[in-house]
Amino acid sequence: MTIPILPRTAIDPASELYLVAYAELKRLAQRLRRQAHVAETLDTTALVHEAYLKIRGHEQATGKDPGYLHALAARAMRQILVDRARRRMADKRGGGLAHITLEGIAVAVDKQAFDLVDVDHALQALDALAPRLAELVELHVFAGLSMPEVAAFLEITERTAFRDWRKARAFLVQKLDPESTS
């Protein structure tokens, strides 16, 4: 038995702490973007950590363990990224390529293999089956934490973390790209 199905401390997306994390991450991402000539590549790890530092000082954070706060920041990061992916998709759709309008001229459909919105959907499906695995993916992919860090936060061994990650990844791949029989 390698997947402990433990009741997770629920992350409430309406809680003040979550909203603070969300706003902070958004602000940080935008600020870093403005200074893009300074920091060539942005990575989510740094952002999530900064957001964590910010919410750690919040009054509602007292008594919460760092693992929970990181998970909260990771969830907010995921939401920001998925929001952006969705909006960008909408902008592309605004160009109206994928359909015939009643008056327009049709253009062929051009689809990307998958995007972050799909990943989000797949992750929701995983959450329903194995919340612990979904949390692991959130920390590793969206918050960019390394495997040892993830293991530390989830209080599992690194080996277990690696195994769970491989399992979760296989599940997601299968969801995202079901043509696996080729």
């Binding site: 199905i5 403005r34 920001i80 759709r93 994928a98 009643l102 990844r169 791949v173």
Partner: protein, 980 residues
């Protein structure tokens, strides 16, 4: 995937863990031993299979995250957003200080274009705003050919200041330099920049932020400086906004030391930046300031340091030699850390450049004898050169031929190996080896890969064949294989010292696959690298690399960047291969595509026609080139409503595609669909239906359910044709079938494709009088679109407007007007009717709005809306097209309500002629016109004709007892539309 519960997933996970580390061939047996449940086993096997692709997908997800982080989430400004009188067209750039949009304003019938800079800083204090306004006036007075003028400025609704500058159509200075201008051209360019800065200085304006990205070069080679004085404006404003001190409105690499240290700012600041810029223009690399610690000691040693730095940095674009000497000295003098010791003015700097170009002694080092002598040589270079020539020629000739020989031998060897390689692949590929079946392309390629392994100790050949195989896999559509081969080839080329052209070939092959997979940043990076590697080498190859880069930019819709590059490419290609080559033709087709996508159809037609002309001249033109050109030509003509020409070109394309791909191929079907599109837009719907049905049958047979997305689209097209020919029942069946296929393709009902089909279906139901159903369907369509589209989206507002029409039909007039006004407003800047959303959709919205206003008794409003609708329809549709009928009908109804029956009658006759055909006599869209025509005829005292028409349509109206017909009956019998 079957539906599983957490418990069985846990079990699947355990099995996965137990098996995943085993060798692949042992897994199956072990799995059977561990688990007796076949369904569970299948799940585990699927997951194990997925595991193999885990890395690739993980990588893709990370790339997307990086890309999204890079995209600024904050400033998404929709097309059509208004800033004062300026309407946003699209975003064209972003930088530290804000986002830049291309904007338009309409005044007195002509359109002015501008570049709007939305500043990202908080500037809320009134004093700041007042100063902003004052400074703006000073800047607006700068009027020089080399300065992009400040046109306007203000605050948007949330208090963010914006500036509108003259829009410069051209390329950036960096791009211009990337085209390798000669030294003379570079210096002339720099002279232009100096002249503009000097002019501004005479008007007491300092730029403060001169750098390459603030300079654009037009296609005529005119340099334009952007953002003059903006830095000062911002600096002043920020001094007031104390919180913002950490960000400075200039770019450190080009900023004078006194700018960094907060010293006195004057014209020397611009002289410094110009010096740094000169360095970059000459060498292509950034100017490095000397170490800040030595900044105070502006003595010879620190200068020498800088000089050495300058030399080291010179890149091959211009050799270090041309920098050494005068130009080096000029740069050093201009960028002296001590402002006092720089050139006293920009004019003085420009004068030294001019002297250098004339071969005269520059002021910066007037007193050195040796230097003078060297200038003598330059001035008399032809004489001196003649003396030296004899010696040099004999030496270099020997060197060149030696080098070439070595290269030629290497190439010959490679060619021989490639030949043997291919022979090896084909020799073994006789049908006897394959159970008598001929080999497929894929089998041959797989053999090629095996064969290639023998080359592993010859890196150059190994890489070359790898790139070739990647390209061939790309040709047969196996992008995964193509990608991994190309990636491996690139890695290998990086690791081993192979000739640059081989390295570049591998990069191009990789960029091609990445382009196909829409991984544009990677594709661009690799193509750029390839172009750079062979920029100075084999010219046709280097043009190929640039061509690949342009095609990536086109595909990623980066037209702004693509256009100047493509034009430069075309020029160079013509130089190399003459006007009539396959490459020139292919560049012209790309240019046509660019124009077509930019809505410049006339230019697109011209380019495509030129390309076709060239291809016909050529002896062995590739039919696929001709296919591209014909398709582009045909679609451009179609957009211009030149139906005859469009149909001819597109039918040629069908022939070509059939010849290349055969009849049963998606490419061929697409060309056929294009021809049918002509018929549809022309209103020849019966023929369109016949051809579409045939095409759909062919595709259904060939594809089965293997490509539901393709079938869904073609089914939807056919359904729309049925609806527009009044065959509602057939239309409904097909729309529902299209929805089913889309669900099959998307796995859900809430995607963009479903939304569009739902809208079509809703409209069909409405025409049948099934209002409640129609409302349900349209509302779900609207909900999906609302979640996915920008507020200014044509598509979203079209849907909203159609919902508004439905409300009118259901008697909810106020609600109807509200929706229609909102939709119209979203697509209309409201200045003089140009710009905004698609004219076709706006014409429709205004026609519907007019009818709703009429229903509310607002006759004047209705008349205004309808008039505007008709004028838009004239722009959007060819004369007499059935789509223009809605506008004509709305105007006629308004006239009738206003008591102008004599004006209404001819409008109604035109509307009727436009609608029937294609629509039939019992279509409500035809009957509604006739009902109004009866009223108009009565009012015009043509009682006999009115009664005759009434007698014809009465039975048609009574035949169907649906709400549409009932409503029309009521209208006719009331004899007036006034209170309809």
């Amino acid at each position: 995937m079957i539906s599983i519960d957490p418990e069985s997933f846990r079990r699947i996970g355990e099995l996965f863990d137990a098996l995943v580390d085993l060798p692949a061939d042992e897994r199956s047996a072990k799995l059977h031993a561990l688990c007796a449940d076949a369904a569970l086993r299948a799940e585990v096997e699927a997951m194990l299979h997925a595991d193999a692709r885990g890395h690739a997908i993980e990588k893709k997800a990370r790339e997307q995250i990086e890309e999204l982080l890079d995209a600024d989430g904050e400033s998404m400004v929709a097309t059509g957003t208004l800033f004062g009188v300026w309407r946003v067209d699209r975003e064209i750039g972003r930088g530290g200080m804000g986002v830049v949009f291309r904007v338009d304003r309409n005044e007195g019938g002509f359109t002015q274009r501008g570049a709007l800079k939305l500043i990202k800083l908080g500037m809320d204090s009134e004093a700041v705003v007042a100063r902003f306004v004052r400074e703006r006036e000073v800047l607006a007075r700068l009027d020089h050919v080399g300065i992009s003028r400040l046109l306007d400025g203000g605050m948007n609704s949330d208090g963010r200041p914006f500036l509108v500058m003259e829009y410069i159509d051209g390329c950036s200075l960096e791009e211009h330099i990337a085209g390798h201008p000669t030294l003379r051209e570079r210096l002339e360019l720099f002279g232009q920049i100096c002249a503009a800065v000097a002019y501004a200085h005479r008007h007491l304006v300092i730029h403060r932020d001169i750098k390459p990205s603030n300079i654009r070069v037009t296609s005529d080679g005119v340099c334009k400086l952007l953002d003059f004085g903006i830095a000062k404006l911002l600096d002043d404003s920020m001094a007031s906004a104390a919180t913002m001190t950490q960000a400075r409105p200039f770019t450190p690499d080009y900023a004078a030391p006194e700018q960094l240290s907060g010293g006195q700012i004057g014209t020397p600041v611009d002289v410094y930046s110009l010096g740094a810029l000169l360095h970059e223009i000459l060498t292509g690399t950034r100017h490095h300031r000397s170490d800040p610690s030595t900044k105070s000691s502006s003595d010879a040693s620190s200068q020498d340091e800088t000089r050495e730095q300058t030399r080291r940095d010179a890149i091959p674009a211009l050799s270090a030699r041309s920098l050494r000497g005068d130009l080096d000295t000029i740069v050093l003098r201009a960028t002296h850390t001590d402002a006092e010791r720089r050139y006293a003015s920009v004019d003085a700097l420009a004068e030294d450049i001019r002297r250098h170009m004339l071969g005269q002694a520059i002021v910066a080092r007037r007193d050195r004898t040796l230097y003078r002598l060297s200038r003598f040589v330059v001035r008399n270079r032809y004489m001196v050169a003649a003396l030296v020539l004899v010696v040099v020629v004999s030496i270099t000739a020997a060197l060149v031929s030696l080098g070439q020989m070595r290269k030629a031998r290497a190439q010959a060897t490679r060619a021989e190996i490639a030949k043997q390689f291919l022979a090896g692949v084909f020799e073994q590929a006789s049908p006897d080896e394959n159970n008598g079946q001929p080999f497929t392309a894929r089998q041959l390629l797989e053999r090629g890969e095996k064969q290639r392994q023998q080359l592993s100790d010859m890196p150059a050949e190994h890489i070359e064949i790898g790139s070739l195989l990647a390209r061939l896999y790309w040709d047969i559509g196996d992008y995964d294989r193509a990608q991994s081969l190309a990636e491996a080839a690139v890695e290998e080329a990086q690791a081993s010292a192979v000739p640059e052209d081989i390295h570049a070939d591998a990069l191009i092959a990789l960029a091609r696959v990445e382009n196909e997979l829409r991984r544009f940043p990677d594709a661009i990076r690799h193509a750029e690298l390839a172009a750079k590697l062979i920029a100075s080498a084999d010219t046709q190859r280097s043009l190929e690399a640039r061509r690949q880069l342009v095609s990536i930019l086109l595909r990623s819709e980066n037209y702004l960047r693509a256009e100047p590059m493509l034009r430069a490419l075309l020029v160079d290609q013509r130089k190399l291969s003459g006007d009539n080559s396959r490459e020139v033709a292919s560049d012209l087709v790309m240019l046509a595509t660019l124009y077509y996508n930019n809505g410049q159809e006339l230019q697109a037609v011209e380019m495509a026609s030129d390309a076709i002309g060239i291809l016909h001249e050529l002896h062995r033109a590739a039919p696929s080139d001709l296919l591209d050109a014909q398709t582009r030509l045909g679609l451009s003509q179609l957009h211009l409503y030149r139906f005859v020409e469009a149909e001819a070109a597109l039918r040629d394309a069908v022939k070509l595609a059939t010849g290349i791909y055969g009849a049963d191929n998606i490419q061929t079907w697409t060309t056929q669909s294009n021809v049918i599109r002509v018929l549809e837009l022309e209103g020849r719907l019966d023929q369109a239906i016949a051809e579409r049905s045939a095409l759909l049958d062919v595709q259904r047979k060939a594809l089965g359910e293997s490509n539901p997305a393709q079938l869904a689209i073609h089914t939807k097209f056919l359904a729309a044709d049925y609806r527009d020919t009044s065959r509602f029942a057939e239309a409904e069946v097909l729309f529902r079938e299209s929805l089913r296929l889309t669900r099959l393709a998307d796995g859900s009902d809430d995607g963009a494709d479903s939304a569009d089909t739902l809208l079509h279906l809703g409209y069909t139901l409405q025409l049948q009088g099934r209002y409640a159903e129609a409302e349900n369907v349209m509302k779900s369509s609207y909900a999906i679109m609302n979640a996915n589209s920008a507020t200014g989206s044509n598509w979203l507002n079209d849907t909203r407007g159609r919902l508004g029409t439905l409300y009118r039909l259901r008697g909810r007039t106020a609600e109807s007007i509200m929706e229609l006004r909102a939709a119209t407003h979203a697509l209309d800047p409201g200045v003089d009717g140009t710009g905004g959303g698609s004219p076709a959709i706006r014409a429709n919205l205004l026609a519907s709005l007019s009818l709703s206003e009429l229903a509310a008794g607002q006759i004047d409003n209705a008349l205004a809306s309808a008039t505007q609708s008709v004028s838009l329809a004239e722009k959007a549709f060819p004369p007499g097209n059935f789509r223009s009928a809605a506008s004509l009908y709305a105007l006629a109804r308004s006239e009738l309500a206003g008591g102008q029956a004599s004006a209404a009658e001819p409008l109604l006759r035109r509307a009727l002629a436009a609608r029937m055909p294609p629509q039939s006599a019992n279509d409500p869209r035809v009957l509604e016109i006739e009902v109004s025509l009866v009223a108009a005829l009565r009012a015009n005292q043509k009682i006999g004709e009115a009664e005759a028409l009434r007698a014809v349509i009465l039975p048609l109206l009574r035949k169907d007892s649906n709400p549409v017909m009932k409503q029309l009956l009521r209208e006719m019998d009331s004899g007036s539309h006034r209170d309809g």
